[in-house]
Amino acid sequence: MTNRPDHGDEQWPEEWTRDLQRLDQALGEGRSPSVEEFQMLAAHTQRRQRRRMKYELMLFVLTALLIVGGILMAALAVPAVLILIHVIGMLAGVTVLASSKELRTAGKKGFHE
């Protein structure tokens, strides 16, 4: 049985670093691809990335067209419903604005009192 020196819990003996360095040296770097293989991989990755970006852009444009087209169709088919939605929206906006102004005024009064 060997006696190891008593270190604090967080101390890292130098011999442990040496053990790991020997592991690094002994195991080498596996099968490291050549520069040409990395270049091919880079070119392939760029092509794939460009394709993906084009695909995402197309998806975005199609979705936007679908939404805008849907709204336009609804507007042309039943204009009364669209006007109703706009009126409700506007009324809701005005109500929120008015009530928030009232709340702000009440808050200011309370603060000064």
Binding site: D9, L20, L23, L41, A42
Partner: protein, 181 residues
């Protein structure tokens, strides 16, 4: 070499595949050796290294130079490896057997080259991934607790406690080995 590396990075960010090839060839060995130590498994290290290279190539434009390029790479590699092990948690039993088999392989490979497989390496192999990663990054690669925390996306205090616990476990393992011999 640093100037050359900066030049490679700048060109790679502009889409130069030759510079990208040279840059990743230069760093691959470091990346693979790091992954081999944290995974203790040749095939997982190789797979993760390849995934890391692809991920780095895709995101090279986002590299801003606040850390060294190798640190940026091993941050991505560590996160990829952690994600992969989380996804494979259901296959724990199989993974444990695979881990044992690959440690035996590493040991055999090292001894074939006349190097001794020490109790420390045995102990490291038995630690959980999170403790092994914290210990290696702190004590072998020399990162600070804060740096490791930002690499792994966890608080520095957690890194500190993982490192301390890991070393404690290692000492326990080594003492158990000593008592047996």
């Amino acid at each position: 070499m640093i100037l050359e590396e900066e030049d490679w990075i700048r060109k790679a960010q502009q889409g130069d595949t030759n510079a990208m090839g040279a840059l990743f060839k230069h760093h691959y060995s470091f990346l693979y050796k790091y992954l081999l130590k944290i995974t203790m498994n040749h095939s997982v290290a190789e797979d993760t290294a390849q995934d890391t290279v692809i991920r780095c190539m895709e995101n090279i434009a986002r590299y801003n130079g606040t850390s060294s390029f190798s640190s940026w790479m091993i941050t991505i590699a560590t996160r990829l490896y952690i994600d992969r092990t989380r996804r494979n948690k259901r296959e724990t039993k199989w993974l444990e057997n695979e881990q044992r088999r690959s440690v035996t392989q590493l040991r055999w490979q090292m001894e074939r080259q006349g190097e001794q497989w020490t109790d420390l390496l045995d102990g490291l192999a038995q630690l959980s991934d999170e403790h092994r990663i914290a210990i290696l990054l702190k004590h072998y690669y020399g990162y600070s607790y804060e740096e490791i925390g930002s690499m792994l996306g966890i608080p520095a205090g957690t890194v500190k406690s993982r490192t301390a616990y890991g070393i404690k476990q290692l000492r326990k393992e080594l003492n158990a080995h000593d008592e047996q011999t």
